[in-house]
């Protein structure tokens, strides 16, 4: 569904992603893990059109995404849940959701929008309760749910999530991961960028481990969970063992 080949991303003269290739098949949950500055967010920015300065290939459903701006990428069927949620705090929850459907309204699909509103509010019942409240009054977890729901309103085929667990309690992270499973079972393809590698790998089918702008390791989620280096570096396990061995 999504295919990235030899992607190099530049901020001015600095290369933040140094030749990454990866593929995402329809119906998969893929997670990208790695430390801060490993290039995960940069890769998402390139895919969704925020960062135009890249070389290589990004293909979605067989068509290149080169030169598209974010609204055009959204119309192609890719939605991003950005890092830090980026909801619109002064607007009501309902308005946030409707703005998520901006491209749908422009396609004259107002009826579909009403259905989608119903479906995301069933998925996240708390949003229905708070639909008239300004989005800025929601708790962190609720804001994250709103950000995901807003992205879903554009009816994407591929959902990109950047650090959805950031700053949230483990219970809420679990809830969000459950929702992602539900969405996948409805046919959505998901790419998840996470520093919380354990939660991400438990939800994912396959994963890519990033380090300083390149893919260090890739494999099924189980393989990565069992991998010694991944455990040591990203899961915080066996640190003692590692230390003793040195």
């Amino acid at each position: 569904m999504l295919r990235v080949r030899n992607l190099k991303c530049f901020y001015g003269r600095i290369m933040a992603v140094k030749g990454v290739s990866l593929s995402v098949n329809a119906g998969e949950i893929i997670c990208l893990i790695g430390a801060n500055g490993a290039g995960k967010t940069t890769l998402l920015s390139a895919v969704c059109g925020l960062l135009p300065t890249w070389t290589g290939e990004i293909e979605f459903e067989g068509q290149s995404l080169k030169g598209l701006d974010p609204p055009a990428v959204v119309r192609r069927g890719i939605s991003l849940v950005p890092e830090g949620r980026m909801i619109f705090p002064p607007l009501s929850v309902m308005d946030n959701l409707r703005l998520g459907a901006y491209t749908m309204y422009k396609k004259k699909a107002a009826e579909a929008v009403e259905q989608d509103l119903e479906s995301v509010m069933t998925l996240f019942p708390i949003l229905r309760e708070r639909s008239d409240q300004p989005a800025g009054t929601l708790s962190g977890g609720e804001q994250q749910m709103l950000a995901i729901a807003r992205a879903l309103m554009a009816r994407p085929g591929l959902l990109l999530l950047d650090e959805p667990s950031m700053g949230l309690a483990p219970m809420i992270v679990e809830k969000i991961m459950e929702v992602l499973e539900v969405l996948r079972s409805r046919g959505l393809t998901i790419v998840l960028v996470e520093q919380n590698a354990l939660a991400a790998l438990e939800a994912a089918d396959r994963g890519y481990v990033f380090e300083t702008g390149a893919v260090l390791l890739q494999g099924s989620a189980d393989e990565l969970l069992a991998d010694k280096d991944v455990k040591r570096a990203y899961l915080g396990k066996d640190y003692g063992d590692f230390y003793d061995a040195v």
């Binding site: 969704c48 925020l50 701006d69 974010p70 609204p71 959204v74 119309r75 991003l80 950005p82 980026m86 909801i87 619109f88 705090p89 002064p90 607007l91 308005d95 409707r98 703005l99 998520g100 901006y102 491209t103 309204y105 807003r150 992205a151 554009a154």
Partner: protein, 291 residues
């Protein structure tokens, strides 16, 4: 008492004008982070456009009004398209200097088209002034207050009720977030320019009968509107309205009770006070950016 009422009437009339101009500044600032120092020049275009269309081309009042506003809004959008959007490094200070340049250009163009003379324009209707507890209210003042109310209400509904209005608010909150969601932010900026300069044209058109419109009227009106917007809180619709009316009334009282030389100074003294005491304005949010 009668005097105070008279000052109040003239203050309200001027205040309504400042309010509309301030709203133009404020809405453009909130969706683009830009102070358009050419805004006053669009007010001038509105006033002189109105004069030309009615006196010069003999159009009836209502079509002339709408044509003027639409024409000036189109000019504002052209300005964005030609002078603002192509800037390669759109830092605020660069853009502000461009708007200052545009204001000089527009004033020059106004002088070439309309000459250096002042024009006069008959009021929208020739009712005699209305007596109100001994004070007199001009018919044109009522026109001004009514039109300003209608325009403000329409703008409020546009922001609150329409998808495009909400999308513009979203752009004002965070351009990046709006872009990610699929809102074409460039189009929103263009629209903000059109609406803002259109508001300027409304102000120009409705005051043309009570001032003597000339090519250089825009500078002072623009600065007054800017003071009003700062006073009320830049970026807030109701702040701009409140700031405009308060400025108009304070100015009128200053002229009436202290000295008529104080008229223009009042706005700038007020601006300085606001910047010292409450830089975010009366209704503004606390995080004010410095350039």
């Amino acid at each position: 008492m009668q005097e105070i009422l008279q000052y109040l009437f003239s203050g309200l009339t001027n205040g309504a004008i400042y309010a509309v101009i301030a709203v133009g500044f404020s809405m453009l600032y909130s969706s683009t982070d830009l102070i358009n120092f050419a805004h006053g020049e669009f007010v001038m275009l509105g006033a002189l456009g109105m004069v030309s269309l009615t006196a010069g081309f003999g159009l009836p009042l209502i079509p002339a009004f709408f044509l003027t506003v639409a024409g000036v809004a189109a000019a504002g959008m052209l300005f964005e398209r030609l002078a603002i959007r192509p800037v390669r490094h759109p830092e605020p200070i660069v853009l502000i200097i461009i708007t200052v340049g545009a204001s000089i250009f527009l004033r020059g163009a106004g002088m070439l088209i309309w000459g250096k003379n002042s024009y006069s324009m008959p009021p929208f209707s020739d009712h005699p002034p209305i007596d109100f507890a001994g004070a007199r209210l001009l018919a044109q003042s009522i026109w001004i207050l009514v039109i300003v109310t209608v325009v403000t209400a329409a703008l409020h509904l546009f922001y609150r009720r329409t998808l495009t209005g909400k999308a513009m608010t979203a752009c004002a909150v965070s351009k990046k977030a709006a872009w990610i969601v699929g809102i074409p932010t460039k189009w929103m900026v263009l629209l903000a320019f059109g609406l803002s300069t259109g508001m300027g044209a409304v102000a120009g058109a409705i005051i043309s009968p009570i001032t003597m419109p000339s090519y250089d009227m825009g500078t002072m009106l623009g600065l007054k509107g800017f003071c009003a917007a700062m006073f009320g809180g830049l970026g807030s619709l109701w702040g701009a309205i409140l700031g405009g009316f308060l400025l108009g009334i304070l100015e009128a009282l200053g002229v009436g009770f202290v000295s008529s030389g104080l008229k223009d100074a009042a706005a700038f003294i007020l601006l300085l006070l606001v910047l010292y005491v409450r830089p975010q304005g009366i209704l503004g949010s606390a995080d004010v950016k410095r350039f």
